[in-house]
Symmetry: C2
Subunit: 501 residues, 2 copies
């Protein structure tokens, strides 16, 4: 090991750290020259997470960030962090470290990345402030690999402080805009690491489940030639000498794939909404988890597949991401997410009755407002003990023109929303697959037939009955974890006021 290090060049040390007196440890610390792939040392870097008593008394190399440093006489305690794990490290004047080296270590800017060689030592008292509680690292060499600037725009310990604690104890927390403006640092917190690892898991579970069910993944274009549903809330793109638009959903393309016999398709991709909504749950760009499926006789065949997919996601998250859930809960406490198997399915009129019983006045063909949606979620939770349910058979009047009417009740439709903790995460329906009925419904909605000609024509050469829906990824992440703002579950959120970073 020492040989690998000996061959690495170190640049000059900050002048103030140089002591006129001889420094017997001067080769053992410093700022490394930039890693430009000059060489391939065969040094093994050990993961912080693997620093346990099993490694006691071994000499190891670790690359990590300096989370904190605290000098104390002839010693300096560092906390070294790697993703969500951290370990205490000690630089103490002795055989390996000079007082200059201790001073150097104490002065490394927080968030700098260092390569450290040290001996793993078992500690007698658990180190409560670190994830590696049973050992500490006795540092023999320390080199700065990438130096952080001295002033951080936000402190990581503030960024993971529960708001209640901040308020009660008068300690700093970090507001959302500061977080988002400095997202590279905010994403380093244990909470952010957990949120986005879990989000990666949602995508993985979604696809894993659907591939097992025989679905095919498709890629749909985001630049489209016509704003299909009337043209509201759509972003315009300059496309060479013409204008084009950003797709508000992949629905037309999913449906074309059904008409092209793919039978069961899904896609994961960005969805764009030019809505000037500045709420806790709207983004102008979000990730859609979309499903479309041909069915035999009843759209409930599709509803069941979608609901089961969500249930498999919830189960998978609770099985595979328990650490992440608990990490987020430390900062944002919340009840575990509850769901039933099979999923509770209520009809719209049943939901309406529950709301009316609770004193809400609503017409039969009126859509749910956000407060009523949330209230209904609470009522459902009380009555059925579930955070996830399906509301089926929406009034035809409040759904898009392509929604299949319910032949048994012409004021109803074969459409549904799904809810998590009282907020909508999916909207879907049986789609009209008959060009003649589709034309009638489009006319009824006052839609210019010329603009949706290609859409209607897709159904002219034999189309199977089909249904589908679109899930908002950031909403699922937010509501599963019981968070309160969708900007917490979008890495680089876009809203009417934010386009950076």
């Amino acid at each position: 090991m020492p040989s690998a290090n000996a061959s690495r060049k170190t640049q000059e040390k900050p002048r103030e750290l140089m002591d006129a007196a001889e420094d017997y440890a001067k080769e053992r610390y410093g700022v490394s020259s930039m890693i430009q792939s000059q060489e391939k040392p065969d040094r093994v870097l050990v993961r912080v997470n693997d620093l346990t008593v099993q490694k006691a008394d071994e000499v190891v190399w670790v690359r990590a960030r300096v989370q904190t440093s605290r000098a104390k006489g002839k010693q300096c305690f560092l906390v070294l962090r790697q993703q969500q794990f951290n370990v205490q490290a000690l630089v103490a004047v002795g055989d390996h470290a000079s007082k200059q080296m201790v001073k150097f270590a104490a002065n490394i800017n927080k968030e700098s990345i260092v390569d450290v060689e040290g001996v793993v030592r078992k500690v007698n008292q658990k180190i409560g402030s670190c994830t590696q509680q049973d050992v500490e690292l006795h540092v023999q060499k320390i080199y700065v690999i990438s130096l952080a600037e001295p002033r951080l725009p936000l402190q990581l310990e503030d960024a993971i402080r529960p708001e209640v604690e901040g308020e009660e104890e008068g300690r700093a927390t970090v507001n959302q805009d500061t977080r988002l403006d400095n997202r590279v640092i905010d994403l380093r917190t244990s909470t952010s690491q957990a949120v986005f690892r879990l989000q990666s898991g949602i995508c993985h579970l979604f696809r894993e489940t659907l591939i097992n069910k025989g679905f095919v993944e498709i890629q749909t274009p985001k630049i489209i030639s016509a704003a299909s549903e009337g043209g509201a809330n759509v972003f315009t793109v300059s496309y060479f000498k013409n204008n084009a638009y950003l797709a508000q959903s992949p629905q037309l393309y999913k449906q074309m794939c059904i008409c092209a016999d793919f039978e069961k398709v899904f896609c994961v991709g960005p969805v764009f909404r030019a809505e000037d909504s500045n709420t806790h749950r709207h983004l102008t760009e979000f990730v859609g988890l979309d499903i479309e499926m041909a069915f035999n006789y009843h759209y409930h065949e599709v509803v069941e597949e979608i609901a089961d997919t969500l249930v498999q996601i919830f189960k998978g998250l609770q099985e595979r991401f328990q650490t992440e859930i608990q990490t987020v809960n430390k900062q944002f406490p919340c009840e575990p997410f509850k769901f039933l198997e099979p999923t509770l399915r209520l009809e719209y009129c049943e939901g309406l009755a529950m709301l009316r019983e609770a004193g809400i006045e609503m017409g039969d063909e009126e859509d749910l407002s956000t407060p009523n949606e949330k209230l209904l979620g609470r009522l459902v939770k009380e009555k059925y003990d579930t955070d996830f349910y399906i509301l089926d058979k929406y009034p035809l009047a409040v759904r898009p023109f392509y929604t299949m009417p319910d032949p048994k009740n012409l004021k109803q439709s074969n459409s549904y929303d799904m809810f998590m903790r009282g907020e909508e995460i999916l909207s879907g329906a049986q789609r009209i697959h008959d060009p003649q009925l589709l034309t009638e419904r489009a006319l009824h909605h006052g839609i210019d037939l010329e603009k949706i000609k290609a859409y209607i024509d897709s159904f002219r050469f034999g189309a199977p009955p089909h249904a589908g829906g679109g899930i908002g990824l950031e909403r699922v992440t937010m509501l599963f974890l019981g968070l309160h703002n969708i900007r917490q579950t979008s890495m680089f959120p876009r809203d009417p006021k934010r386009l950076t970073p």
Copy 2:
């Protein structure tokens, strides 16, 4: 089974099919009323692929498209197709079918979807024209579920005809624009079904491999506030009262995730290029399979991971998608894709020497033209017998400003391209992670520092050395299958002249 059918309503039959004479089979055929989820019959629909001798003499229900129909006296032969599988069906005057029913069956428009009840019968002579060669279906009931219009804009049998055969035998093939204009039908061919099932497999194998390697999936925004690399070839979006741009790559965001300690990330998503290139391999919107990874000491750690990921994709395709590969080969014959393990890595100067030996004149710091790229691919194939290789250490002068220079040879860089059958499918590099060097290189390239401030600032708070690259999904599909136009491997391609469907 009959009871499930008896309960289904049938609409009036086309008048010309009604015979004044009594029709003892009149309940056994017709056009079904539109499926609006009126009921949930417990009928089981058997897959065409499952119609084998094991099912001989069983009565089954099948839903499929009428691929062809051919009346012959008192009989009508249908070919029923379901995705890439098809079976012969026979409607013959007898106990179950009247002559009116045979006439009805013979007159169903091609590509209509039908529900058929029939007995599976073993045949004595293999039916060469169908995938189900050992059985045929003796039809007892037939109902049209979705009627296709009588004139199809293209014939499926023309659309799967090898071009050579079309030319030699003077038979029709379908040109690309007709295919794309009528994509819903073109996608029904066995070739298209195979191409896009295999493409779905590429995405799946890409993610499966990376998740096993410990990568995290990220979602990066497509609407961005500034056109980072100088602003050329970028689409402009109207964003409320301002302008925004469509991301040409997720690179900045991948790098921010590395600076935010995610260590190994990937993303799959649309990439936009406003290039007015009308070639066989350029699209204005394509799907990027992107990777970014922090490394310890040498960017080859990353190169090896990327190359291995591609090798795992090639292996997975050859193992799991052999049927699809052979289906495509029938129409577009091509040699099986060859690759080495570990992947061949040549340095740029070695490639240059091979080209010069073949008579090409090129400067040391000149980029590869498309013809030279292809020639080098042929030379490499001859010498090393591989269709996949890495070209490493490109001249610094031909790479973007953020590319890490090679400290041992300042005219070279730590950058690489990867090639399949002589065409580039990935471009990547070690990125500069030091804000000072990054600033110098940007100035050298004449880039306005103000526009890339956020990018440079991402590296100010400690950044690990890292490298990555972006793979074009459609190119990988095209070149793996030996196809010759990228529009064959994009479901709904976008180029300067095409925005629909």
